[in-house]
């Protein structure tokens, strides 16, 4: 069963293409099509990320598609990770103000001494920003939903609770809203940007252990 779902999800990730939580300057006049991204920050832990984006110069709705991968800090570097996949589309442009959305499929994994947890989710962000050729600033609001999740518990946890039920769980096991600001500076095929904001659970009351996010990122365009 697990294999079926993993295999079935793979084409969707490919269909969606991929995007790191792409923060780009829509106001930049650069013609390069490839965007390499590196970022560091705090989002459910101290995280490091790498990404690749491909720019599609549709006149009406310019967009980027690409892939992003991030890992949280810790002794075991690859036991937890997140892959995001999707598209960043600019929908509206009024003077220097622009509105764009990012829709991304998410696959993430968590492992510790108690369990290995894998999740397929969806992350949607809306951004309204003021974009100039050399700089930009904006506000973003988003929702990250953990849609379907697989639990596999270790022998250690089975000692605690022998009857624990492994397998797929749904409906959605979790979801968090986030909202914040972003700003960046563009120079010779490069962007430096910073994003920060708050995270709140879908009930608008509960907060995660780390109730904020911060990201400092760097884009290099080829």
């Amino acid at each position: 069963m697990k294999n079926i779902i993993y295999k079935a999800a793979l084409p969707l990730l490919l269909i969606l293409n991929t995007v790191n939580a792409q923060t780009i300057n829509w106001g930049s006049a650069s013609k390069e099509k490839h965007i390499l991204n590196a970022n560091i920050g705090a989002e459910y832990g101290v995280v490091f990320g790498l990404g690749y984006g491909y720019k599609l110069n549709n006149k009406l709705f310019p967009m980027t598609v690409g892939a992003g991968f991030s890992v949280p800090s810790g002794n075991n570097l690859l036991d937890d990770f997140k892959v995001k996949a999707g598209a960043n589309v600019r929908w509206v442009k009024v003077s220097d103000f622009q509105f764009s959305t990012i829709v991304q499929g998410v696959f993430r994994r968590f492992e510790n001494e108690n369990a290995a947890i894998a999740n397929f989710g969806l992350d949607m962000t809306g951004i309204v920003g003021y974009y100039r050729p050399k700089w930009f600033g904006g506000v973003e609001v988003g929702f990250d939903k953990a849609i379907v999740t697989h639990f596999r518990h270790t022998e250690h946890y089975k000692e605690i609770y022998p009857d624990v039920k492994n397998g797929w769980y749904e409906p959605a096991t979790g979801g968090n809203f986030y909202y914040g600001i972003q700003a960046g500076y563009t120079f010779s095929r490069q962007d430096m940007y910073v994003k920060l904001g708050n995270i709140v659970s879908q009930d608008f009351k509960t907060k995660p252990l780390l109730p904020f996010y911060v990201q400092i990122g760097y884009n290099y365009k080829l």
């Binding site: 969707l12 800090s73 968590f110 797929w168 979790g174």
Partner: protein
């Protein structure tokens, strides 16, 4: 994208979503017994008593008329599984009682507001519950009672001694973080001061994007709490000896911390009226509990006997069989036999 490509994408996405949502066995993370064990009100096969309006997971060992030793687990929100070495005291002729406090372990769960709406009185609910547990197991008025509290359990035992000084005849305390709220806060900060980039802290934070629970979704919140690493290099918990549990009580822990912080609860209140023996244990390998901290905390008690247990951390005072048999247990037996 052409029309046929769009159609293919739509079909692929629909197929995938259908597969995803039809292959999950219909399990939900808040289903009783799925991810965490059921509580006594959900599973009648578990040993239980009814005390102060709550069904409590509880069992007792040893002769019914022996001196009662009541084991009080830590947390708040822990359970008594890790204290079961204390069952040995039954072979000495004592009546050893274990119970999971309300909202903790396998005992009945209650909404967060049932605690927070009481304000500072939330602590009284815990005292009244202990009072009811003592009444349940005490078979005659002359039967002596000794409280054996570990961590939060030692704080609870101290608060109880202040409120009901004549109801108990002995106190055995293992590393209460503090008695005054500021001390408790300081201890918690010190004992959980993990490095920002550490695996333990990042694991705890990373989990929040997989699972989120609302205020009183006990199964979800308890599971998330159970998922936290059992090892703590600062206090030595789980490092030098394993410490087993059944289920965490996230809501009661959260509620009691909220109340403690808001009302600055002082668990040393009334302790001057308790003049019975106090046996105070602390561990050699808990870095958050140096000699100076032990001196500070023990200053609230009248003539305490202070014992430092070597070679163990916070839990090891009881969970480490070697330390329990050779250091902790003999001192406890001495105290009880001297009553």
């Amino acid at each position: 994208m052409t029309v046929s490509k769009k159609k293919n994408v739509a079909v692929a996405a629909f197929t995938l979503l259908t597969l995803l949502f039809s292959c999950t066995d219909g399990r939900t993370i808040d289903g009783p017994g799925n991810l965490v064990p059921k509580t006594v009100d959900q599973d009648s096969s578990l040993p239980s008593i009814f005390a102060n309006g709550a069904m409590l997971h509880s069992e007792a060992f040893g002769p019914e008329n022996g001196t009662i030793v009541i084991a009080l687990h830590g947390g708040p929100g822990g359970d008594y599984r890790y204290l079961l070495n204390a069952k040995d005291l039954a072979t000495e002729g004592f009546r050893v009682v274990f119970y999971d406090q309300r909202g903790s372990g396998l005992s009945q769960r209650f909404p967060k507001k049932s605690y927070t709406s009481l304000g500072a009185g939330a602590a009284d609910v815990m005292y009244d519950e202990l009072h009811a547990v003592i009444a349940h197991y005490r078979k005659n008025p002359g039967q002596k009672v000794v409280l054996l509290g570990h961590s939060w359990g030692a704080i609870l035992a101290s608060g109880y001694a202040g409120k009901y000084p004549d109801d108990i005849q002995g106190l055995v305390l293992c590393e209460p973080g503090g008695l005054k709220w500021n001390d408790i806060e300081d201890y918690v900060k010190e004992s959980r001061s993990f490095k920002l980039w550490s695996e333990i802290l990042n694991d705890a934070a990373y989990m929040d994007q997989f699972i989120s629970g609302k205020e009183d979704q006990h199964e979800i919140l308890d599971y998330k709490m159970s998922m936290l690493a059992s090892k703590n290099d600062i206090t030595g918990e789980g490092v030098f000896d394993p410490s087993m549990s059944w289920r965490s009580g996230a809501v009661v822990m959260d509620a009691l911390f909220d109340v403690g912080e808001k009302y600055n609860i002082d668990f040393s209140q009334g302790l001057q009226n308790y003049s019975g023996p106090v046996l105070f244990f602390y561990s050699e390998r808990n870095k958050a509990y140096p000699d100076s901290w032990a001196q500070k905390i023990t200053s609230s008690y009248y003539h305490p006997t202070i014992v430092k247990i070597s070679g163990v951390g916070h839990d090891g005072i009881i969970t480490n069989s070697n330390a329990w048999n050779n250091q902790t247990k003999p001192k406890i037996i001495n105290l009880i036999e001297g009553l």
